[in-house]
Structure formats: structure tokens, C-alpha cells
Amino acid sequence: MNGKHSLRNNILLGLGFALMVAALYMVFIYVPTDKYTGIVQRIFYFHVPVAWVSFLAFFITFVFSILYLWKREVKWDAIACTSAEIGVVFTTLVLITGPIWAKPVWGVWWTWDARLTTSLVLWLIYVAYLLVRNFATEPARGARFSAVIGIVGFIDVPIVFLTVNLWRTQHPTAIIFEGGLTTPMLITLLVCIAAFTVLYVLLTIQGANLKSMETDVNRLRNTQAE
């Protein structure tokens, strides 16, 4: 990593840290407790940004999968793969925080509403992406196949969302908020979204760099041995 990248990474790190601190302050101190659902509502400020990042991550995987199939540069594949790994973690968090929030509020662990169901399908597609890499007979094949999954799977996500939405309009949906978002809630939410997005970007850059370095080291090691 050259000096230019270090500077960029340090700026991101600083920004991310600052945003996280601000987010924590705002979620636990600044924003008033929701009068309808109580303290547990604060999970919302975690759940929504994490859900946003999980979709963003898959979009990035989609874009870099296309780039990889087109240009075949290993660094594109490293970004796509890292983004998928981070994405699956974030999606898992969505699937955990969703029920934690839903149970005290609506009395059920799970509702098959469009957002949660799409997150579940997204999780399954991420897992398929990672498993294909794992079970491929060679790394180059794994990269190619998973790029195909990254593209085909991403296209499915909006279709799933629309279909489940259509299905659910035939059933009463749980209402998330009585009375909508007040200004302090909105600001808090936006800060949290920003914080988690920066976190995602940092993790992806680091992870992708690590993978690229691994590939370089392996290549050098193999050339040495020959």
C-alpha cells in the first residue's frame, strides 16, 4: 500500500470513528424514547442502517462481479468477494435484530413481510455465492462461478421484494411507526446510516487488500518453488 492509500484509509478511519461515536451518543442520549414502543425501539437505529448496508454490499458485489467477468482483474474479484462476506454478516445481523425488535412490539418473532423475507432470501443467495467459491475445484473457477451468482442473484432481489409485497398486500401488515419519524429521530437515523456505511467501506477496502496481498504472496511463493 502506498502513501496515497494510507492517507485515504486514515481519513476514512477517523471519519468512521467520529461518526460511530456521534451515532452512539445520539442513539443512547440525544434521541428521546419513543412513546409508543419504548426503549427497545432504539434497535431501529441499528437495524435499518445494517439492512441498508447489507443491500449496498450486494449491489457492490453485483457491480464488481460484472467488472471481474469483463476485465478479469483479480482485485475486482477480491472486492466482490469481500463485499459478499461482509454482506452476509450484516444480513445475519438484520435477521437477528429484526425478531428482537418485533417480539416486544408485535408479539411475534417473525413476520413474512417483504423486507424481512427479502433479507432472508438475500442471506441464502449470499451463502450460495460463498459456498460456490468454497466448493469450486480451483480458485479461478470459484471466482468466475461466484461472479455469475453475484449477478444472477442480485437481479432476483427486487423481484423477490415485489412478489412478496404483492403477496402481503392481501394480509394486514404490521405498522412500523404510529405517527412517523420526528426530526431528531431522522437525524439520528441518518448519522447511523452514515456511520455504518463508512464502516462497510473500511472493512471492504481492508479485506480486499488483504486478499490481493495473499494472492501476490502465493504467486511469489510458487514462482520461488519452480
Binding site: 443467495i125 450460495a128 459456498l131 460456490v132 462461478f145 455469475v148 444472477v152 423481484i159 412478489t163
Partner: protein
């Protein structure tokens, strides 16, 4: 254009001839689908009432899982004797191979559906002549085959060949399954076209999108 079509037909002819000789895939899938129908019936307690809510699901589980079983075979057969390489050496676009295999996969699933559906309708004491159901089945099968053929080519080149296909296939076809089941319910209850129109539209959109995407992406699966 004509030549493309001929070659797709040739691949289709070759697969049909092989299957007619051995009949191994169709028999195993038919038996499996039948078993699913029966077991699910028992699993739901064999109640006479409320069955109209459960029955469509049972049919589609049988068809979906039967499909998974059958689609694996589409490219597994080309692994022996390195036949896939023989195909790849032919002077054709890789997409032609996809469409040739797709035709076979679709026909195969159609054959399964033609046998299973009347049995299903009879077992649940439903009317046998349902053209709307036929349309739903055809549209759904197109979607299944479009995705299943593509993923069969991927799965067959991995180490966990048999488990990889369902893992790839099932999440992606969720919209088709939802739409198919939701459309089947009103049809079995004798409702009109208006009730199922949106679901048909979803299936048609899915089919077109995935046929196009799979055609574009297929060459990347085959290349080395």
C-alpha cells in the same frame, strides 16, 4: 438464424434420444414427485376441510423438488467421457448449448407435470380439466428450467455437485414458487382470470428476465 435453431434442435434431439433409451431420470423423478404428494398429504393430517389451502402448496413442492432432482442431470450427463468438451469444440456459440439443454430441461419438467398434476387433482378430488392451471404450470416451468439449466452447469463443476444445485436454485426461484402457488389457489376454487393476472405477469417477467440473463452469462460458466 436458421442454423442456430437447427443446432438447438440437434442438442435437444440427442438428449431426448438418450433419455428415451434409458428412461432413468424421468422414472426416478416421477416416483419422487409422487412420494412427495403422498407424504405431504399424511404430513398435513389428511383433513378433508381446509385442504384447498394446503393442496396448491403440496403440488408445487412436488414439482419444485422434482425439478431440482431432474435439473442436476442436465449437465451431469455431459461430464462423462468429457462430452461437454466435445460440445465446446463444436462451431457454435455457447448460448446455443444453453438453449439446447434448456429445451430438454423444459420438456422433461413438462412431462413430469403432465403425469403428476392429474394424479394430484384426483387425489384431492379436484376437477381435472383446468386450462388456467396448465398455463400457470407452463410459465412456472419455463422459469425453473431457465434457472435450473444455468445452475446445473455451475453445480456440476463443483465438488459438492448434488447439494450445490438446490442451494443455488431454490432461493432464486422463490418468486416463481410464490406466484405459482398464489395463482393456483383461486384456480382450484374456480375463480376467473382477473384474480390470477398479476401472478401470471410476475411469472412472465421472471421468465423473460432470466432467459435473457442466463443466455448472456452462460459462456462464462463454460469457459476455462
Amino acid at each position: 438464424m436458421n442454423k442456430l435453431f437447427i443446432r438447438i434442435l440437434v442438442i435437444f434431439w440427442k438428449d431426448m434420444l438418450t433419455e428415451l433409451r434409458t428412461k432413468e431420470v424421468i422414472t426416478s423423478v416421477l416416483v419422487f414427485a409422487l412420494l412427495v404428494l403422498v407424504i405431504f398429504n399424511f404430513a398435513f393430517g389428511m383433513r378433508a376441510d381446509g385442504m384447498e389451502f394446503v393442496a396448491p402448496g403440496i403440488l408445487w413442492v412436488a414439482l419444485t423438488f422434482g425439478g431440482v432432482l431432474g435439473f442436476n442431470r442436465i449437465f451431469a450427463v455431459e461430464k462423462e467421457n468429457s462430452r461437454l468438451e466435445g460440445l465446446m469444440l463444436c462451431p457454435v456459440d455457447r448460448a446455443v448449448i444453453y438453449w439446447g439443454k434448456l429445451a430438454g430441461g423444459f420438456t422433461f419438467m413438462l412431462a413430469v407435470a403432465i403425469v403428476i398434476t392429474p394424479i394430484f387433482l384426483a387425489l384431492f378430488n379436484l376437477p381435472l380439466f383446468l386450462p388456467k392451471l396448465a398455463l400457470i404450470i407452463v410459465l412456472a416451468i419455463i422459469g425453473f428450467a431457465a434457472v435450473g439449466t444455468l445452475f446445473s452447469a455451475v453445480a456440476v463443476n463443483t465438488r459438492a455437485r448434488d447439494i450445490m444445485l438446490p442451494i443455488l436454485f431454490l432461493p432464486v426461484v422463490v418468486p416463481v414458487v410464490i406466484a405459482a402457488v398464489k395463482a393456483t389457489v383461486p384456480v382450484l376454487a374456480g375463480k376467473s382470470w382477473g384474480d390470477i393476472l398479476t401472478w401470471l405477469q410476475i411469472m412472465i417477467a421472471f421468465d423473460i428476465i432470466y432467459l435473457v440473463v442466463a443466455t448472456l452469462v452462460f459462456e462464462f460458466v463454460l469457459e476455462e
